[in-house]
Amino acid sequence: MGNPQASALWSRLKPVVYAAIVPLLLLAFWQVATTQRWTLLIPTPWQVGEYMIDFAVGGVYDDAYSATLLTHLLASMGRVYGGFALAALFALPIGLLIGRIPAARMLLDPFLQVMRPIPVTAWLPLSMILFGLGAKSAFALVCLGAFYPILLNTVFGVRAVDPKLFEAAAMLGCTGNAQFYKVVLPAAVPSIFTGLRLGLGLAWFVIVVGEMTGVPQGLGAVIMDGRTLSRTELVICGMIVIGVAGYLSDRVVVAIGNRLLRWSPNNHG
Protein backbone atom coordinates (compact mmCIF):
# COMPACT_ATOMS: atom_id res chain seq x y z
CA MET A 1 0.00 0.00 0.00
CA GLY A 2 2.78 2.40 -0.92
CA ASN A 3 0.63 4.62 -3.07
CA PRO A 4 -1.31 7.07 -0.88
CA GLN A 5 -3.77 7.83 -3.68
CA ALA A 6 -4.60 4.16 -4.11
CA SER A 7 -5.11 3.67 -0.40
CA ALA A 8 -7.34 6.74 -0.27
CA LEU A 9 -9.40 5.30 -3.10
CA TRP A 10 -9.60 1.95 -1.33
CA SER A 11 -10.80 3.53 1.89
CA ARG A 12 -13.60 5.16 -0.11
CA LEU A 13 -14.53 1.97 -1.93
CA LYS A 14 -14.17 -0.38 1.02
CA PRO A 15 -17.67 0.14 2.47
CA VAL A 16 -19.25 -0.34 -0.95
CA VAL A 17 -17.29 -3.52 -1.64
CA TYR A 18 -18.08 -4.93 1.80
CA ALA A 19 -21.75 -4.05 1.48
CA ALA A 20 -21.95 -5.83 -1.89
CA ILE A 21 -20.49 -9.15 -0.75
CA VAL A 22 -23.54 -10.68 0.95
CA PRO A 23 -26.07 -9.67 -1.75
CA LEU A 24 -23.77 -10.95 -4.49
CA LEU A 25 -23.31 -14.29 -2.71
CA LEU A 26 -27.06 -14.58 -2.32
CA LEU A 27 -27.54 -13.74 -5.98
CA ALA A 28 -24.99 -16.36 -6.97
CA PHE A 29 -26.73 -18.95 -4.81
CA TRP A 30 -30.08 -18.00 -6.31
CA GLN A 31 -28.61 -18.35 -9.82
CA VAL A 32 -27.15 -21.76 -9.08
CA ALA A 33 -30.28 -22.99 -7.30
CA THR A 34 -32.55 -22.05 -10.18
CA THR A 35 -30.30 -23.15 -13.07
CA GLN A 36 -29.56 -26.45 -11.32
CA ARG A 37 -33.32 -26.86 -10.96
CA TRP A 38 -33.27 -27.36 -7.17
CA THR A 39 -36.56 -25.56 -7.35
CA LEU A 40 -38.93 -25.09 -10.22
CA LEU A 41 -41.18 -22.52 -8.63
CA ILE A 42 -38.68 -19.67 -8.42
CA PRO A 43 -37.56 -17.82 -11.55
CA THR A 44 -33.88 -17.14 -12.23
CA PRO A 45 -32.33 -13.78 -11.30
CA TRP A 46 -32.14 -13.01 -14.99
CA GLN A 47 -35.86 -13.58 -15.47
CA VAL A 48 -36.66 -11.42 -12.49
CA GLY A 49 -34.34 -8.69 -13.80
CA GLU A 50 -36.04 -8.79 -17.13
CA TYR A 51 -39.42 -8.70 -15.52
CA MET A 52 -38.35 -5.78 -13.34
CA ILE A 53 -37.54 -3.78 -16.49
CA ASP A 54 -40.93 -4.66 -17.93
CA PHE A 55 -42.59 -3.77 -14.62
CA ALA A 56 -40.80 -0.42 -14.60
CA VAL A 57 -40.94 0.73 -18.23
CA GLY A 58 -42.72 -2.03 -20.20
CA GLY A 59 -41.77 -3.26 -23.65
CA VAL A 60 -40.92 -6.90 -22.81
CA TYR A 61 -44.10 -8.82 -21.94
CA ASP A 62 -46.65 -6.03 -22.24
CA ASP A 63 -49.13 -7.57 -19.83
CA ALA A 64 -51.38 -6.02 -17.18
CA TYR A 65 -48.39 -5.17 -14.97
CA SER A 66 -46.08 -3.70 -17.59
CA ALA A 67 -44.91 -0.18 -16.88
CA THR A 68 -47.06 0.06 -13.73
CA LEU A 69 -44.26 0.22 -11.14
CA LEU A 70 -44.58 3.96 -10.63
CA THR A 71 -48.36 3.76 -10.19
CA HIS A 72 -48.06 1.05 -7.53
CA LEU A 73 -45.09 2.70 -5.86
CA LEU A 74 -46.89 6.04 -5.61
CA ALA A 75 -50.02 4.34 -4.26
CA SER A 76 -47.99 2.60 -1.57
CA MET A 77 -45.95 5.70 -0.78
CA GLY A 78 -49.17 7.63 -0.29
CA ARG A 79 -50.34 5.06 2.26
CA VAL A 80 -46.94 4.74 3.94
CA TYR A 81 -46.39 8.47 4.40
CA GLY A 82 -50.05 9.23 5.02
CA GLY A 83 -50.37 6.49 7.63
CA PHE A 84 -47.06 7.50 9.15
CA ALA A 85 -48.07 11.15 9.35
CA LEU A 86 -51.37 10.24 10.97
CA ALA A 87 -49.53 8.00 13.46
CA ALA A 88 -47.13 10.83 14.31
CA LEU A 89 -50.06 13.21 14.72
CA PHE A 90 -51.52 10.98 17.44
CA ALA A 91 -48.40 9.44 18.94
CA LEU A 92 -46.43 12.66 19.54
CA PRO A 93 -48.97 14.52 21.70
CA ILE A 94 -50.05 11.34 23.51
CA GLY A 95 -46.38 10.51 24.14
CA LEU A 96 -45.70 14.00 25.51
CA LEU A 97 -48.74 13.72 27.78
CA ILE A 98 -47.80 10.27 29.10
CA GLY A 99 -44.20 11.35 29.60
CA ARG A 100 -44.98 14.57 31.46
CA ILE A 101 -48.29 14.07 33.28
CA PRO A 102 -48.55 11.23 35.83
CA ALA A 103 -52.35 11.10 35.56
CA ALA A 104 -52.13 10.62 31.78
CA ARG A 105 -49.56 7.91 32.34
CA MET A 106 -51.79 6.05 34.82
CA LEU A 107 -54.77 6.44 32.51
CA LEU A 108 -53.22 5.40 29.19
CA ASP A 109 -50.04 3.45 29.80
CA PRO A 110 -51.58 0.12 30.98
CA PHE A 111 -54.10 0.14 28.13
CA LEU A 112 -51.46 0.87 25.49
CA GLN A 113 -49.10 -1.75 26.92
CA VAL A 114 -51.81 -4.39 26.45
CA MET A 115 -52.67 -3.20 22.94
CA ARG A 116 -49.07 -2.99 21.80
CA PRO A 117 -48.25 -6.72 21.45
CA ILE A 118 -51.23 -7.29 19.14
CA PRO A 119 -49.67 -7.56 15.68
CA VAL A 120 -50.97 -5.53 12.77
CA THR A 121 -51.89 -8.75 10.97
CA ALA A 122 -54.29 -9.59 13.79
CA TRP A 123 -56.02 -6.26 13.26
CA LEU A 124 -56.59 -6.99 9.57
CA PRO A 125 -60.09 -8.56 9.81
CA LEU A 126 -61.33 -6.02 12.32
CA SER A 127 -59.91 -3.19 10.28
CA MET A 128 -61.78 -4.41 7.22
CA ILE A 129 -65.01 -4.52 9.22
CA LEU A 130 -64.44 -1.06 10.67
CA PHE A 131 -63.04 0.72 7.63
CA GLY A 132 -64.28 -1.46 4.79
CA LEU A 133 -62.34 -3.09 1.98
CA GLY A 134 -59.84 -0.74 0.42
CA ALA A 135 -57.64 2.23 0.98
CA LYS A 136 -59.03 3.46 4.31
CA SER A 137 -58.33 0.12 5.90
CA ALA A 138 -54.79 0.02 4.49
CA PHE A 139 -54.20 3.51 5.80
CA ALA A 140 -55.41 2.55 9.27
CA LEU A 141 -53.19 -0.54 9.47
CA VAL A 142 -50.07 1.35 8.39
CA CYS A 143 -50.91 4.04 10.92
CA LEU A 144 -51.25 1.44 13.65
CA GLY A 145 -47.89 -0.11 12.73
CA ALA A 146 -46.07 3.22 12.94
CA PHE A 147 -47.86 4.38 16.09
CA TYR A 148 -46.12 2.46 18.89
CA PRO A 149 -42.46 3.13 18.12
CA ILE A 150 -43.18 6.86 17.85
CA LEU A 151 -45.20 6.80 21.07
CA LEU A 152 -42.72 4.77 23.12
CA ASN A 153 -39.68 6.78 22.04
CA THR A 154 -41.46 10.06 22.70
CA VAL A 155 -42.39 8.91 26.21
CA PHE A 156 -38.83 7.77 26.80
CA GLY A 157 -37.40 11.02 25.43
CA VAL A 158 -39.40 13.32 27.67
CA ARG A 159 -38.89 11.13 30.73
CA ALA A 160 -35.14 10.77 30.28
CA VAL A 161 -34.28 14.48 30.42
CA ASP A 162 -31.31 15.04 32.73
CA PRO A 163 -32.84 16.52 35.94
CA LYS A 164 -29.81 18.83 36.22
CA LEU A 165 -31.03 20.64 33.11
CA PHE A 166 -34.27 21.60 34.86
CA GLU A 167 -32.24 23.01 37.74
CA ALA A 168 -29.97 24.85 35.31
CA ALA A 169 -32.97 26.34 33.51
CA ALA A 170 -34.65 27.30 36.79
CA MET A 171 -31.62 29.11 38.16
CA LEU A 172 -31.35 30.99 34.85
CA GLY A 173 -34.92 32.23 35.27
CA CYS A 174 -36.79 29.72 33.12
CA THR A 175 -39.45 28.04 35.26
CA GLY A 176 -42.83 26.30 34.99
CA ASN A 177 -44.36 25.77 31.59
CA ALA A 178 -41.55 27.61 29.80
CA GLN A 179 -39.31 24.67 30.73
CA PHE A 180 -41.44 22.42 28.55
CA TYR A 181 -40.53 24.34 25.39
CA LYS A 182 -37.01 25.35 26.42
CA VAL A 183 -35.83 22.11 28.01
CA VAL A 184 -38.12 19.09 27.62
CA LEU A 185 -38.83 19.37 23.90
CA PRO A 186 -35.29 20.04 22.67
CA ALA A 187 -33.86 17.40 25.01
CA ALA A 188 -36.37 14.84 23.74
CA VAL A 189 -35.76 15.54 20.05
CA PRO A 190 -33.17 12.77 19.52
CA SER A 191 -35.49 10.13 21.01
CA ILE A 192 -38.50 11.48 19.16
CA PHE A 193 -36.48 11.37 16.00
CA THR A 194 -35.48 7.76 16.62
CA GLY A 195 -39.18 6.99 17.12
CA LEU A 196 -40.12 8.66 13.84
CA ARG A 197 -37.38 6.77 12.02
CA LEU A 198 -38.51 3.42 13.45
CA GLY A 199 -42.13 4.34 12.79
CA LEU A 200 -41.50 5.11 9.15
CA GLY A 201 -39.53 1.87 8.79
CA LEU A 202 -42.45 -0.05 10.27
CA ALA A 203 -44.89 1.74 7.98
CA TRP A 204 -42.98 0.26 5.02
CA PHE A 205 -42.81 -3.02 6.88
CA VAL A 206 -46.58 -3.37 7.26
CA ILE A 207 -47.57 -1.98 3.85
CA VAL A 208 -48.13 -5.46 2.39
CA VAL A 209 -50.49 -6.38 5.23
CA GLY A 210 -52.17 -3.01 4.83
CA GLU A 211 -52.73 -3.70 1.16
CA MET A 212 -54.17 -7.16 1.78
CA THR A 213 -57.41 -5.31 2.31
CA GLY A 214 -58.37 -5.46 -1.34
CA VAL A 215 -56.90 -2.27 -2.74
CA PRO A 216 -56.39 -2.39 -6.51
CA GLN A 217 -53.04 -0.57 -6.52
CA GLY A 218 -49.94 -0.64 -4.41
CA LEU A 219 -46.84 -2.79 -4.03
CA GLY A 220 -48.57 -4.96 -1.44
CA ALA A 221 -51.47 -5.45 -3.82
CA VAL A 222 -49.01 -6.47 -6.57
CA ILE A 223 -47.46 -9.04 -4.26
CA MET A 224 -50.86 -10.43 -3.28
CA ASP A 225 -51.87 -10.60 -6.97
CA GLY A 226 -48.59 -12.31 -7.79
CA ARG A 227 -49.35 -14.92 -5.16
CA THR A 228 -52.87 -15.52 -6.45
CA LEU A 229 -51.69 -15.74 -10.07
CA SER A 230 -48.64 -17.86 -9.15
CA ARG A 231 -46.41 -15.23 -10.73
CA THR A 232 -43.42 -15.47 -8.45
CA GLU A 233 -41.37 -12.99 -10.48
CA LEU A 234 -44.05 -10.38 -9.75
CA VAL A 235 -43.83 -11.18 -6.03
CA ILE A 236 -40.05 -10.84 -6.03
CA CYS A 237 -40.16 -7.58 -7.98
CA GLY A 238 -42.61 -6.15 -5.46
CA MET A 239 -40.35 -7.23 -2.59
CA ILE A 240 -37.29 -5.63 -4.16
CA VAL A 241 -39.10 -2.34 -4.81
CA ILE A 242 -40.35 -2.22 -1.20
CA GLY A 243 -36.84 -2.91 0.09
CA VAL A 244 -35.23 -0.22 -2.05
CA ALA A 245 -37.96 2.35 -1.41
CA GLY A 246 -37.86 1.71 2.35
CA TYR A 247 -34.09 1.98 2.34
CA LEU A 248 -34.02 5.26 0.39
CA SER A 249 -36.76 6.66 2.58
CA ASP A 250 -34.70 5.81 5.67
CA ARG A 251 -31.55 7.41 4.22
CA VAL A 252 -33.44 10.66 3.70
CA VAL A 253 -34.65 10.57 7.30
CA VAL A 254 -31.12 9.88 8.55
CA ALA A 255 -29.75 12.78 6.50
CA ILE A 256 -32.37 15.11 7.97
CA GLY A 257 -31.53 13.78 11.43
CA ASN A 258 -27.82 14.39 11.00
CA ARG A 259 -28.51 17.99 10.08
CA LEU A 260 -31.07 18.57 12.77
CA LEU A 261 -29.11 16.83 15.52
CA ARG A 262 -25.64 18.16 14.84
CA TRP A 263 -25.43 19.00 18.53
CA SER A 264 -25.93 15.43 19.65
CA PRO A 265 -22.78 13.35 20.16
CA ASN A 266 -24.84 10.14 19.81
CA ASN A 267 -26.40 10.92 16.50
CA HIS A 268 -24.26 10.08 13.53
CA GLY A 269 -26.31 7.47 11.71
Binding site: D162, L172, G173, C174, A187
Partner: protein, 259 residues
Protein backbone atom coordinates in the same frame (compact mmCIF):
# COMPACT_ATOMS: atom_id res chain seq x y z
CA UNK B 1 -21.21 51.27 53.70
CA UNK B 2 -24.53 49.62 54.49
CA UNK B 3 -24.02 46.93 51.89
CA UNK B 4 -20.94 45.70 53.66
CA UNK B 5 -22.84 45.11 56.88
CA UNK B 6 -26.15 43.65 55.67
CA UNK B 7 -25.49 40.08 54.60
CA UNK B 8 -26.44 39.11 51.06
CA UNK B 9 -27.33 35.65 52.33
CA UNK B 10 -28.15 34.59 55.85
CA UNK B 11 -28.52 31.02 57.01
CA UNK B 12 -30.25 30.87 60.39
CA UNK B 13 -30.22 27.62 62.31
CA UNK B 14 -30.94 25.63 59.15
CA UNK B 15 -31.43 21.86 59.31
CA UNK B 16 -32.25 19.53 56.47
CA UNK B 17 -33.59 16.02 56.90
CA UNK B 18 -34.04 13.69 53.94
CA UNK B 19 -36.54 10.86 54.29
CA UNK B 20 -35.50 7.89 52.14
CA UNK B 21 -37.98 5.03 52.49
CA UNK B 22 -37.30 3.80 56.04
CA UNK B 23 -34.12 5.83 56.46
CA UNK B 24 -33.80 9.33 57.89
CA UNK B 25 -30.71 11.28 56.90
CA UNK B 26 -29.64 14.36 58.83
CA UNK B 27 -27.93 16.07 55.92
CA UNK B 28 -27.54 19.37 57.73
CA UNK B 29 -28.00 20.26 61.36
CA UNK B 30 -28.25 23.73 62.94
CA UNK B 31 -26.19 25.64 60.38
CA UNK B 32 -25.60 29.38 60.83
CA UNK B 33 -23.79 31.46 58.24
CA UNK B 34 -23.84 35.06 57.03
CA UNK B 35 -22.35 35.91 53.67
CA UNK B 36 -21.50 39.53 52.86
CA UNK B 37 -21.34 41.06 49.42
CA UNK B 38 -18.02 40.52 47.68
CA UNK B 39 -16.89 37.62 49.82
CA UNK B 40 -15.35 34.46 48.42
CA UNK B 41 -16.41 31.63 50.69
CA UNK B 42 -15.36 28.02 50.40
CA UNK B 43 -17.42 25.26 51.99
CA UNK B 44 -15.17 22.32 52.64
CA UNK B 45 -15.65 18.89 54.11
CA UNK B 46 -15.80 15.15 53.50
CA UNK B 47 -18.75 13.67 51.62
CA UNK B 48 -21.91 13.64 53.69
CA UNK B 49 -20.98 16.81 55.60
CA UNK B 50 -23.89 18.73 54.07
CA UNK B 51 -21.85 21.23 52.05
CA UNK B 52 -23.74 20.55 48.82
CA UNK B 53 -27.05 20.54 50.70
CA UNK B 54 -26.25 23.95 52.16
CA UNK B 55 -25.34 25.24 48.69
CA UNK B 56 -28.54 23.83 47.20
CA UNK B 57 -30.58 25.50 49.94
CA UNK B 58 -28.98 28.84 49.00
CA UNK B 59 -29.77 28.12 45.35
CA UNK B 60 -33.40 27.38 46.24
CA UNK B 61 -33.29 23.80 44.95
CA UNK B 62 -33.95 22.52 48.49
CA UNK B 63 -35.99 24.03 51.29
CA UNK B 64 -34.78 23.85 54.90
CA UNK B 65 -36.58 21.33 57.15
CA UNK B 66 -36.23 23.92 59.89
CA UNK B 67 -34.61 27.33 60.21
CA UNK B 68 -34.45 30.12 57.67
CA UNK B 69 -32.48 30.83 54.50
CA UNK B 70 -32.64 34.53 53.61
CA UNK B 71 -31.37 36.63 50.74
CA UNK B 72 -31.29 40.36 51.41
CA UNK B 73 -33.49 39.59 54.41
CA UNK B 74 -36.20 37.78 52.44
CA UNK B 75 -36.76 34.01 52.51
CA UNK B 76 -35.26 32.19 49.53
CA UNK B 77 -38.24 30.84 47.63
CA UNK B 78 -37.10 28.59 44.81
CA UNK B 79 -34.29 29.03 42.32
CA UNK B 80 -33.86 32.32 40.50
CA UNK B 81 -31.48 34.34 38.36
CA UNK B 82 -30.06 36.30 41.31
CA UNK B 83 -28.31 33.12 42.43
CA UNK B 84 -26.40 31.40 39.65
CA UNK B 85 -25.26 27.81 40.04
CA UNK B 86 -22.22 26.24 38.44
CA UNK B 87 -22.52 22.45 38.53
CA UNK B 88 -19.68 19.94 38.67
CA UNK B 89 -20.99 18.18 35.55
CA UNK B 90 -21.57 21.52 33.77
CA UNK B 91 -25.31 20.96 33.02
CA UNK B 92 -25.00 22.90 29.76
CA UNK B 93 -27.85 22.56 27.29
CA UNK B 94 -26.33 20.15 24.74
CA UNK B 95 -28.58 21.34 21.91
CA UNK B 96 -27.46 24.95 22.23
CA UNK B 97 -24.20 26.42 20.95
CA UNK B 98 -21.83 28.18 23.35
CA UNK B 99 -23.45 31.50 22.37
CA UNK B 100 -26.97 30.24 22.89
CA UNK B 101 -26.12 28.62 26.22
CA UNK B 102 -24.87 31.96 27.48
CA UNK B 103 -27.89 33.71 25.92
CA UNK B 104 -30.36 31.34 27.64
CA UNK B 105 -30.70 33.35 30.86
CA UNK B 106 -30.80 36.85 29.32
CA UNK B 107 -33.37 35.62 26.77
CA UNK B 108 -35.47 33.96 29.50
CA UNK B 109 -35.49 37.27 31.37
CA UNK B 110 -36.94 38.95 28.29
CA UNK B 111 -34.04 41.16 27.19
CA UNK B 112 -34.25 42.43 23.60
CA UNK B 113 -32.22 40.52 21.04
CA UNK B 114 -29.76 43.41 20.78
CA UNK B 115 -29.21 43.41 24.54
CA UNK B 116 -28.84 39.64 24.57
CA UNK B 117 -26.23 39.80 21.82
CA UNK B 118 -24.23 42.52 23.56
CA UNK B 119 -24.32 40.61 26.86
CA UNK B 120 -23.28 37.35 25.25
CA UNK B 121 -20.40 39.02 23.38
CA UNK B 122 -19.14 40.56 26.60
CA UNK B 123 -19.10 37.32 28.55
CA UNK B 124 -17.75 35.16 25.72
CA UNK B 125 -14.84 37.60 25.69
CA UNK B 126 -14.50 37.46 29.46
CA UNK B 127 -14.01 33.67 29.44
CA UNK B 128 -11.96 33.69 26.23
CA UNK B 129 -14.21 31.49 24.09
CA UNK B 130 -14.61 33.78 21.05
CA UNK B 131 -13.32 31.07 18.73
CA UNK B 132 -15.80 28.52 20.06
CA UNK B 133 -18.92 30.69 19.99
CA UNK B 134 -20.75 28.41 17.54
CA UNK B 135 -19.46 25.10 18.90
CA UNK B 136 -21.75 22.68 20.72
CA UNK B 137 -20.94 21.49 24.26
CA UNK B 138 -19.91 17.99 23.17
CA UNK B 139 -17.18 19.54 21.04
CA UNK B 140 -15.59 21.31 24.04
CA UNK B 141 -13.09 20.16 26.65
CA UNK B 142 -14.16 20.00 30.30
CA UNK B 143 -12.38 23.26 31.08
CA UNK B 144 -14.11 25.05 28.21
CA UNK B 145 -17.50 23.66 29.26
CA UNK B 146 -16.99 25.01 32.76
CA UNK B 147 -16.04 28.42 31.32
CA UNK B 148 -19.35 28.43 29.43
CA UNK B 149 -21.18 27.48 32.64
CA UNK B 150 -19.51 30.37 34.48
CA UNK B 151 -20.21 32.79 31.63
CA UNK B 152 -23.91 31.92 31.46
CA UNK B 153 -24.30 32.60 35.18
CA UNK B 154 -22.42 35.91 34.96
CA UNK B 155 -24.35 36.91 31.82
CA UNK B 156 -27.52 36.54 33.84
CA UNK B 157 -26.41 39.21 36.33
CA UNK B 158 -26.22 36.76 39.21
CA UNK B 159 -25.32 38.56 42.44
CA UNK B 160 -24.34 35.35 44.09
CA UNK B 161 -22.44 32.61 42.28
CA UNK B 162 -22.82 29.16 43.80
CA UNK B 163 -20.25 26.62 42.66
CA UNK B 164 -20.63 22.92 43.46
CA UNK B 165 -17.17 21.34 43.12
CA UNK B 166 -16.92 23.02 39.72
CA UNK B 167 -13.36 21.97 38.99
CA UNK B 168 -13.60 18.50 40.54
CA UNK B 169 -13.82 16.70 37.20
CA UNK B 170 -10.94 18.59 35.56
CA UNK B 171 -7.28 17.64 35.26
CA UNK B 172 -4.82 19.40 37.57
CA UNK B 173 -3.42 21.84 34.97
CA UNK B 174 -6.84 22.94 33.74
CA UNK B 175 -8.04 23.25 37.32
CA UNK B 176 -5.19 25.62 38.24
CA UNK B 177 -5.85 27.77 35.17
CA UNK B 178 -9.53 28.00 35.92
CA UNK B 179 -8.83 28.84 39.58
CA UNK B 180 -6.67 31.76 38.42
CA UNK B 181 -9.28 32.89 35.92
CA UNK B 182 -12.06 32.65 38.50
CA UNK B 183 -10.09 34.79 40.96
CA UNK B 184 -9.42 37.33 38.25
CA UNK B 185 -13.13 37.53 37.38
CA UNK B 186 -14.05 37.75 41.07
CA UNK B 187 -11.57 40.58 41.67
CA UNK B 188 -12.70 42.46 38.57
CA UNK B 189 -16.47 42.13 39.12
CA UNK B 190 -16.58 41.99 42.95
CA UNK B 191 -18.98 39.08 42.78
CA UNK B 192 -19.99 37.09 45.80
CA UNK B 193 -18.95 33.46 45.47
CA UNK B 194 -19.81 30.38 47.51
CA UNK B 195 -17.61 27.54 46.38
CA UNK B 196 -17.94 23.92 47.51
CA UNK B 197 -14.83 21.78 47.37
CA UNK B 198 -13.26 18.84 49.14
CA UNK B 199 -9.72 20.09 48.50
CA UNK B 200 -8.16 22.03 51.40
CA UNK B 201 -5.58 23.46 49.05
CA UNK B 202 -8.18 24.74 46.60
CA UNK B 203 -10.13 26.34 49.45
CA UNK B 204 -7.09 28.15 50.86
CA UNK B 205 -6.00 29.26 47.41
CA UNK B 206 -9.37 30.80 46.56
CA UNK B 207 -11.29 31.87 49.64
CA UNK B 208 -11.23 34.71 52.07
CA UNK B 209 -13.34 32.60 54.39
CA UNK B 210 -13.18 28.84 54.67
CA UNK B 211 -16.17 27.15 56.30
CA UNK B 212 -15.17 23.70 57.52
CA UNK B 213 -18.01 21.17 57.72
CA UNK B 214 -18.09 17.70 59.24
CA UNK B 215 -20.44 14.77 58.61
CA UNK B 216 -22.76 12.66 60.76
CA UNK B 217 -24.92 14.80 61.06
CA UNK B 218 -23.69 17.45 58.61
CA UNK B 219 -22.81 20.63 60.47
CA UNK B 220 -20.54 23.64 60.38
CA UNK B 221 -17.40 22.88 62.40
CA UNK B 222 -15.72 26.26 62.08
CA UNK B 223 -15.68 29.46 60.07
CA UNK B 224 -12.13 30.59 59.30
CA UNK B 225 -11.24 34.01 57.89
CA UNK B 226 -8.06 33.98 55.79
CA UNK B 227 -6.02 37.15 55.40
CA UNK B 228 -3.26 35.76 53.20
CA UNK B 229 -2.07 38.22 50.56
CA UNK B 230 -3.01 37.48 46.93
CA UNK B 231 -1.79 36.03 44.66
CA UNK B 232 -1.30 33.13 47.03
CA UNK B 233 1.68 30.85 46.84
CA UNK B 234 0.72 27.25 47.59
CA UNK B 235 4.35 26.48 48.47
CA UNK B 236 4.75 29.24 51.07
CA UNK B 237 5.11 28.39 54.79
CA UNK B 238 2.06 30.53 55.65
CA UNK B 239 -0.07 28.60 53.19
CA UNK B 240 1.10 25.32 54.64
CA UNK B 241 0.52 26.43 58.20
CA UNK B 242 -3.10 27.18 57.36
CA UNK B 243 -3.39 23.92 55.53
CA UNK B 244 -2.28 22.05 58.66
CA UNK B 245 -4.77 23.86 60.89
CA UNK B 246 -7.71 23.36 58.51
CA UNK B 247 -6.69 19.78 57.84
CA UNK B 248 -6.83 19.06 61.57
CA UNK B 249 -10.29 20.66 61.86
CA UNK B 250 -11.51 18.70 58.88
CA UNK B 251 -10.58 15.42 60.51
CA UNK B 252 -11.66 16.38 64.04
CA UNK B 253 -14.81 14.28 63.86
CA UNK B 254 -12.74 11.13 63.32
CA UNK B 255 -11.11 11.67 66.72
CA UNK B 256 -14.51 12.17 68.35
CA UNK B 257 -15.86 8.98 66.85
CA UNK B 258 -12.87 6.96 67.99
CA UNK B 259 -13.11 8.30 71.56
Amino acid sequence: MAEATIPIVEIKDVSKIFQLQDQTINALSGANLAIRKGEFICLIGASGCGKSTLLRIMAGFETPSSGEALMWGKPIDGPGPSRGMVFQDYALFPWLSVRDNIAFGPAARGLSSGEVKATVDKFIDLVGLQKFATAYPHQLSGGMKQRVAIARVLANDAELVLMDEPFGALDAMTRERLQDELLEIWERTRLTVVFVTHSVEEAIFLANRVVVMTPGPGRIESDNALDLARPRDVASPEFNAIRRVLGAKLHSHHGKKAA
